[in-house]
Symmetry: C2
Subunit: 342 residues, 2 copies
């Protein structure tokens, strides 16, 4: 039984999409979870009425009035000036034990900053990372970091491997998740300076909770498999991760356009490529904070919000946050021996 705080004001289609997504989630979720709609009460009530919300659904919904809104154009640190925004209030509820998870399609930078402020980081971490589920030709793969951190150290890439492995276990149900390091060749000596250093550290960390396969290449990501076997987690810095994710998002529409031009039926195409659709895979958790904070795409549809809420529930039920804390603690000693410089 999880209590999920949802930013009703976050995203390009708020409050419509979040409120509709909350209702969809209630209908699909098993067990008596509750959703806390955080935002401007009047706007939320209006949406609930417009969607003819049943009394039963209302019993699982709580409205938490938040007069302020973090805008998509605000700077990340602007969230400090908006303590009564839906985003900051929703996160604070979790810090105060009044909620178990937070979900938002709002300003990603502000959500990161607010999550760090309200929830704080696990010991040993300097920054949180964003884990994105990447649809592939085989099982889906956790790609991290996918945009929160640029200029990563080898240390940080190793932390991403640990965080991603827990996520793959708890949310995707993978046992002993296989971790690959994104590089430009399979051999340990291929890559840039940080990647080569991370390869050595990850190889040394085998057996301390990281099932490290080796270097993987760009082609292995859509395939979901590599020279070393199938992948559960792919580690890269947030610059590379962000470029690839945005690239991937744009390739499918291009191909669809070319196929339709050639006379292929659009519905058939979309059905065929449905397994590659991000929204089917829910939001991207911000890993490293002491709590659950799920980041959704600004353009999220109700279905995407629904899936993000389901990811949040799974994170709470599987006690992902505790597992991350334990994994990082357990790793502290051997990792320090492995050459931590900071």
């Amino acid at each position: 039984m999880a209590r999920i705080a949802l930013d009703a004001m976050g995203g390009d289609h708020a409050p419509q999409a979040p409120v509709a997504g909350a209702l969809e989630a209630l209908h699909e979720l098993k067990g008596s979870h509750s959703i806390q709609l955080v935002g401007r009460r009047a706007a939320i009530e209006q949406q609930l009425d417009a969607l003819k919300t049943s009394a039963e659904d209302r019993g699982h919904l709580e409205i938490v009035d938040a007069p302020d809104v973090v805008e998509m154009t605000d700077k990340p640190t602007d969230i400090r000036k908006k303590p009564n925004s839906s985003m900051m209030l929703g996160l604070r509820m979790q810090a105060e034990g009044k909620s178990d998870a937070f979900v938002s399609a709002g300003n990603t930078g502000a959500q990161m900053a607010g999550s760090m402020m309200a929830l704080r980081l696990h010991a040993g971490l300097k920054r949180p990372a964003i884990a994105t589920i990447f649809p592939t030709g085989k099982k889906s793969v956790v790609v991290m970091d996918s945009g929160a951190n640029v200029d990563c150290s080898a240390d940080e890439l190793v932390q991403f491997a640990r965080l991603g492995a827990v996520y793959a276990e708890d949310i995707l149900g993978r046992s002993n998740p296989a971790v690959g390091l994104l590089s430009i060749g399979e051999e340990p000596e291929k890559g840039n300076t940080v990647t080569k250093e991370a390869h050595a550290m990850l190889a040394a960390a085998r057996g301390t909770g990281i099932n490290f396969l080796g270097n993987v290449e760009g082609r292995d990501l859509p395939a979901g498999t590599s020279h070393w076997g199938d992948l559960d987690v792919v580690v890269c810095d947030g610059f590379v991760g962000n470029v690839i994710l945005k690239f991937y998002e744009a390739v499918a529409p291009l191909m669809i356009r070319l196929l339709v031009k050639e006379g292929v039926d659009e519905k058939t195409i979309k059905k065929a490529l449905r397994s590659l659709d991000y929204s089917e895979h829910g939001g991207a958790p911000l890993l490293g904070v002491k709590g659950v904070s799920i980041i959704c795409h600004g353009r999220s549809s109700p279905a995407a919000i629904k899936n993000a809420i389901k990811v949040a529930v799974r994170a709470v039920e599987s006690r992902m946050n505790e597992h991350i804390g334990r994994r990082l603690e357990g790793a502290a000693a051997p990792a320090a021996a492995g050459g931590h410089g900071t």
Copy 2:
């Protein structure tokens, strides 16, 4: 009238694919160009016979006997030990004024090392870069670097912009090519340290032969256009470039598989996606060396070799190498003022 040296022993399908590609090129090229087939004479003769080469074609072909072969598994520096390999001989012919360009589908690292040894670099450059033509939804885009350089400095990214612009002008016929810097947001302050520094330098270099648009994102690459307008050149370091290119190569086969599974006719799909096929766009020139060295994919088909030869001819005819030299010289003064640190 260009003399193109072709590595007849380079690539997974050598000598068949290179020899067949040479013949295809002769049939398509206008003007009386000649192709110098460099490799083991007997193996080449056998291929020419098998392909029933006409006397007219033979008149445009020269066989240059090279007893040695650089293997795909050789280390780049191993080429030093093989001065009589098809690769090293082909490159040396150009240095000695006996040939105008070199094309190979062999070991890429060895081709880079050999090209630097035989042809040398233009003044002011520390390393050559690989320019890849990237098929998009609009015009094709030159992506550089696409794998020759990792851990690039901002300086180097600016050089890539200059090299890529000349390539887009001379080979793709673009006037005043539009250059984008690959990053994780459009704003100048988005990106990693090197990208932000490169943005400042490129902005300062506007008007010195670089039509710099601004930062572009992963999604702009398949689209061929950005917030700032259509793209001709996209600059990134070779780590990111290599990851994206390999990723792109693998996405299409995955989508084709999903579409075929859904009952879409494979021929129709391939016809629709033909414009995204790399082999249609020829090889990738190694830019920065004083000469023409075109790198082909190891798996190159005869059609891919043919297209690479056509790129080589265009590079020779347009005097691309001279233009690069002049552009780099012209830039030396203002670029130094812009903050060169090395």
